[in-house]
Symmetry: C2
Subunit: 335 residues, 2 copies
DNA sequence: CTGAAAGCGCTTACAG
DNA sequence: CTGAAAGCGCTTACAG
């Protein structure tokens, strides 16, 4: 592989000149510029990134970290779509993505992860923190590496979607359809940063419509389809008058739909059921789910952009994205 | 950040000694070993990876590349599960994963990608090549970087699942249920390396059962749910006697199910429909799909393991994984 | 069993 | 506008 020196020799200049021309330093004559570029071309020179990293302190690598909280994390559509957005933006900016999924479940810190953070390999990190069980951010902050969080975790720079607006939108939609008797399939508040705010949004919409939010029957699942069925079974058995079921994610909504049907309720004829997240299955299932999109790809793009701004020395404000209400077939006017 | 030199001073030895002790070179007394480790501990020393990479030529980074062939690639369950498997294995071995999704659609090569490959940053690459439209492998092979392919693309080292066995298993399952009149919802052969072999497997099972494979009605979709509906509509209209529909992926199978039902056919009562891939929706949809699992996580793990063997100087044989038949509710005995 | 020293391939003040 | 030279923090023959 040709080195800087080879290029310098061939172009008849110093290595300093080649280096500077390649990094677009001004003050060079077009003539030398041309000589250099030509030599680069002829030799097929590509800079050695390790050498560049060592001398400049910049690696052009950013790490995308998300704690390994459960085995299916690599098929979580929100996380993967976020990753896709980050990737798109990084490619544009010439940054490479290093993937790291620290195991933070146990008390002992993941030493591999710690080493990586300390290794000087990373110009910055983007942490996806959907789940508050584990923070991958602490070592990063200790080391003083520029970081942005996608989510709620405390960090100078962050982007997330507005869970409160999400809760509000889904509720307003159902209210507009004439519903007044609601059931809630939630999730324990400590499972996820956002759910608390979704509740606040739902409550706000309810109260604005003059409904007594606190009187709504509710149960908590664990995100799974199965728990959605179970919750729906319990809730509908005790409160058969409910005409709309708000679920805090799509999988529980799908479970609820199956359960409701098996109890003889038509969805959405007798009962509207809504989800949250807009996972791929939400279009495929029957009836297709009315749900909320968190706009994960945009969160990813923006997160990357924020990091680049931080790397440039600016201090961007946190971004809160307005979620999208996706109306499909699982919601309908009150029977 | 403390450097090797700091550690050496503190331990009262040379940097060479520290370096060698840290890399587990034999021949050192326990005493010096101890001194070194203690100094490392006290200083919280972590090696600078860029420096290490520059002097040793080893970065401990491997790239996982999959061509950016369509926008939803980051939510393709096969690819993401493969990635999860690779990640798990790399973490175990202390390797870091760099993600790269070269844009190979256009004729001009993706220069970012080319640069990355040439940059000396990569100890090896794992290419996921589900789609033959674009090869990310050429620059890698030109540069002589150790590579393994997950899929069919030509490469010294590779792992994939056995598409022929997959086709055969699904067909044998349906034959065992008593079906004799089949319809095929395929995909153009140049869309995917594997489909050709799935057909061969289906044919083999058919002929073994004395059925005339060539007489089966067939149409081609484009993997999408929508195309599944369209194909099912055409096929069932012309061949209402068909009792089993074999689809070459799950999304088309789901489309086919919807279409069949809207034409008044009960699934699986009147008509069995099978998929391929076992995507997450396959359990969630109604009826849950009988399908084939490619065992993507294992493909990923094995791919990584193969790469490590190559990095160790051995020449592992290609691996072909036996796929799994997953029987669920979309298939039933012939009516 | 341990160390001195060269070298990996860049970048970056500093000079001129 | 360009170059000489130091230095980034390691590893690795080579010597002893």
């Amino acid at each position: 592989m040709p080195t800087l020196e080879d290029v310098a020799k061939r172009a008849g200049v110093s290595t300093a000149t080649v280096s500077k021309v390649l990094s677009n330093t001004p003050y060079f004559t077009d003539a030398t510029r041309l000589k250099v570029m030509q030599a680069v071309q002829e030799l097929g020179y590509v800079p050695n990134l390790a050498a560049r990293a060592l001398s400049s302190g910049k690696t052009h690598i950013i790490a995308v970290v998300f704690p390994y909280v459960y085995e299916a994390i690599f098929t979580d559509p929100n996380i993967m779509n976020t990753l896709a957005g980050i990737e798109a933006e990084c490619t544009t900016q010439g940054y490479n993505i290093l993937l790291s999924t620290p195991q933070l479940a146990s008390d002992e810190p993941d030493t591999h992860y710690q080493q990586l953070i300390q290794s000087g390999y990373l110009d910055g990190v983007i942490a996806i923190d959907s789940y508050p069980t584990a923070s991958a951010l602490k070592p990063v902050q200790e080391k003083g590496i520029p970081a942005v969080v996608i989510g709620y975790e405390a960090c100078d720079y962050s982007v997330r979607h507005d869970d409160q607006a999400g809760g509000q939108k889904i509720m307003e939609h159902l209210i507009a359809l004439g519903h007044t008797r609601f059931g809630l399939i939630e999730v324990p508040e400590d499972t996820n940063y956002g759910v608390k705010y979704r509740s606040i949004g739902v409550r706000a919409a309810a109260e604005q419509a003059g409904l007594d939010y606190d009187s709504f029957p509710r149960t908590s699942g664990d995100w799974s389809t199965h728990s959605g069925s179970r919750c729906a079974a319990a809730l509908l058995a005790q409160h058969p008058d409910v005409t709309a079921l708000i679920c805090y994610n799509d999988r529980m909504a799908m479970g609820a739909i199956q359960q409701a049907r098996s109890m003889g309720r038509a969805v959405p004829g007798d009962l509207s059921i809504t989800g949250y997240d807009d996972i791929p299955s939400a279009v495929l299932c029957d009836p297709a789910l009315t749900t909320i999109s968190q706009r994960s790809p945009e969160q990813g793009r923006i997160g990357a952009r924020l990091l680049f701004e931080v790397l440039d020395g600016t201090h961007p404000d946190p971004v809160v994205l307005d979620p999208l209400l996706i109306v499909r077939q699982s919601s309908a006017p009150r029977p």
